[in-house]
């Protein structure tokens, strides 16, 4: 005998439930507030009014209400941007254009610019020389660190020690040690390096360590079965590295490599401590001579002209790689 039979409630079908329209009220508060930025605030209010007028046609009302909300949102976004720009402009014109004049004086900027560009060429050349050397050096370190077997342990340990050391030191310190230290050793060749060469050498030493870690990640990213396949056809360990692993590893590390180049280029400005006449040093000399900071803006523009396109290009490569991976998987 079943006692106390609980009546099972009749299930409410979703379709049935949604027949009952959700109460919807066209609010006016947001559109009116968005009038603070009139170009988009006005359409927001107009659509809100039309929505109210179309209250008997629910579909139409919703359509207008949505548009009103969209315009109101544009308003708030624009308002925020205007506020930020306004703040910057205010800072520039404050104190009788003191900031604008100090940093963005057109005449001063134009007067010093050719000299800055010429000096900035040094930054480019140092960074290119250091990058090429650091890629070779970093690759060597990465391969040394990935050597297999017990016999290679001392080599691996040395590579690890080197990498840890120069990743752990501030670049500026390494530059000082190399730039001021080598001439004092009195050794042939290394004590007579030009500022350009010792600067590039210091950056190579630092970035070789960074790039070694990037390359190692790339090498380890190649599946071990590729090594097995290479060994299986009789290739030696180094032949597998050269023909199978490194070509795949390098392809994968191009984006981080470009990022490190951007970083390296910026760090060439540190070479000013050695007295190398690069862009930033030249700009500082101009700042003193012109009693105006616009030269700093000039050299900033030089850096950005290279770094921003490179950063965009790197992002593009990363996106393309990601798309490729999705396509395969």
């Amino acid at each position: 005998m079943i006692k106390n039979v609980v009546p099972i409630p009749k299930p409410t079908l979703v379709a049935e439930a949604s027949l009952d329209p959700i109460p919807f009220d066209v609010g006016m508060a947001l559109p009116i507030a968005s009038l603070a930025f009139p170009p988009t605030g006005i359409p927001a209010v107009l659509f809100a009014l039309r929505a109210k007028a179309a209250s008997d046609d629910r579909k139409q009302m919703l359509r207008y209400a949505m548009r009103s909300r969209l315009w109101a949102q544009y308003s708030f976004g624009s308002l925020f941007a205007v506020a930020v720009v306004g703040f910057v402009v205010a800072a520039l014109i404050a104190n009788n254009y003191a900031v604008a004049d100090g940093y963005f004086n057109w005449e001063v900027l134009v007067a010093g610019f050719p000299q800055i560009v010429k000096a900035f060429a040094t930054n480019i050349w140092v960074s290119v020389a250091a990058e090429i050397a650091a890629v070779a050096w970093g690759l060597t370190l990465a391969v040394a660190r990935s050597l297999p077997g017990r016999a290679a342990a001392p080599i691996r340990l040395m590579a690890i020690f080197y990498i840890d050391l120069f990743r752990g030191l501030p670049s500026l310190l390494t530059i000082l040690i190399i730039g001021f230290g080598l001439p004092q050793t009195g050794l042939p060749i290394v004590s007579n390096l030009s500022l350009f060469t010792s600067g590039a050498l210091a950056l190579t030493i630092v970035y070789g360590a960074y790039l070694a870690e990037t390359f190692r990640a790339g090498i380890e990213g190649v599946h071990w079965s590729q090594v097995a396949a290479g060994r299986a056809i009789g290739l030696t360990y180094f032949q597998v590295m050269r023909f199978v692993v490194l070509p795949q590893a390098l392809r994968n590390v191009i984006p981080p490599l470009l990022n490190w180049y951007i970083s390296l280029l910026k760090d060439t400005s540190l070479l000013s401590v050695l007295g190398l006449l690069e862009g930033v040093t030249t700009a500082r000399i101009l700042v003193t001579a012109q009693s105006n900071l616009s030269a700093l803006t000039g050299v900033s523009l030089c850096f950005l002209a290279v770094t921003i396109p490179l950063a965009r290009f790197t992002d593009h490569l990363i996106k393309r790689n990601a798309a490729k991976l999705r396509g395969v998987g």
Partner: protein, 247 residues
């Protein structure tokens, strides 16, 4: 004297004993099929034979090269014994032709032109002459595996190890790969196959080895082993396959 001799081989990964006294002899022109449940040690054994894995105890000899010695001449060994993997493992940054000609060029030091001509002939033989310039990701699984077989054959091996070469393939692509193996068997290539394709094993093998828990549990001619398995474990394994309609 047998060509490949495996005596009492032991191999462990950390806590797991994968091989526990594996013993098998393979003569020239023999086709030995290793069958058995997944994880029984078939693949590991194949990888040990051409020195891709080290062994902990026992002896493996191929021709006159002893693999188990520390100073084994693995490079010469691998030139004699080719291996084809379950996952093909083609080099993705090289075309089919480059995949096949890399070994001959770099290991056998054959001039590029000649190596490419030979590679092309091999690709023709596996029916892929028209795909020679394609990269692996533009080929189907079956085509990739055929390129992988051509790559192993390019080293002119005396024996071939085939490690479940059809397991990663869609069913309709299995046939094209097995046809090539069938032909190699007919030409007298010495082969050891690890496989789950029982019908195929029965057809091409000169001997079937049922592997269980890292040892050859029972071996014999295909007809005898499939129809009259002597040991209960072998019988149980074959019965499971029959029930699953794999035979």
């Amino acid at each position: 004297m047998s060509y490949i001799s495996i005596q009492n081989v032991h191999k462990r990964y950390n806590a797991t004993n994968v091989l526990r006294g594996f013993t098998m002899d393979v003569d020239r022109h023999e086709v030995a099929c290793l069958i058995g449940p997944s994880g029984c040690g078939k693949s590991t054994m194949l990888r040990c034979i051409n020195g891709l894995e080290s062994i902990d105890a026992g002896d493996i000899r191929v021709g006159n090269i002893t693999v188990s010695e520390d100073l084994a001449d693995t490079d010469t060994l691998r030139r004699r014994v080719g291996i084809v993997f379950q996952q093909f493992n083609l080099f993705p940054h090289m075309t089919a032709l480059e995949n096949v000609s890399l070994g001959p060029r770099q290991v056998l030091k054959i001039p590029s032109k000649e190596a490419e001509a030979q590679a092309f002939t091999l690709l023709e033989r596996v029916g892929l002459a028209d795909k020679a310039r394609r990269y692996p990701d533009a080929l189907s699984g079956g085509q990739q595996q055929r390129v992988a077989i051509a790559r192993a054959l390019a080293m002119k091996p005396e024996a071939l190890l085939l490690d479940e070469i059809t397991s990663a393939l869609d069913p309709e692509l299995v046939g094209e790969v097995l046809n090539i193996v069938r032909e190699l068997a007919r030409e007298g290539m010495t082969m050891i196959l690890a496989t789950h394709e029982m019908a195929f094993a029965r057809e091409v093998a000169t001997r079937i080895c049922f592997v269980s828990d890292g040892v050859v549990h029972e071996s014999g001619e295909p007809h005898r082993l499939f129809n009259n398995p002597e040991k209960p474990k072998t019988r149980a394994f074959l019965k499971r396959l029959t029930d699953a309609r794999r035979i």
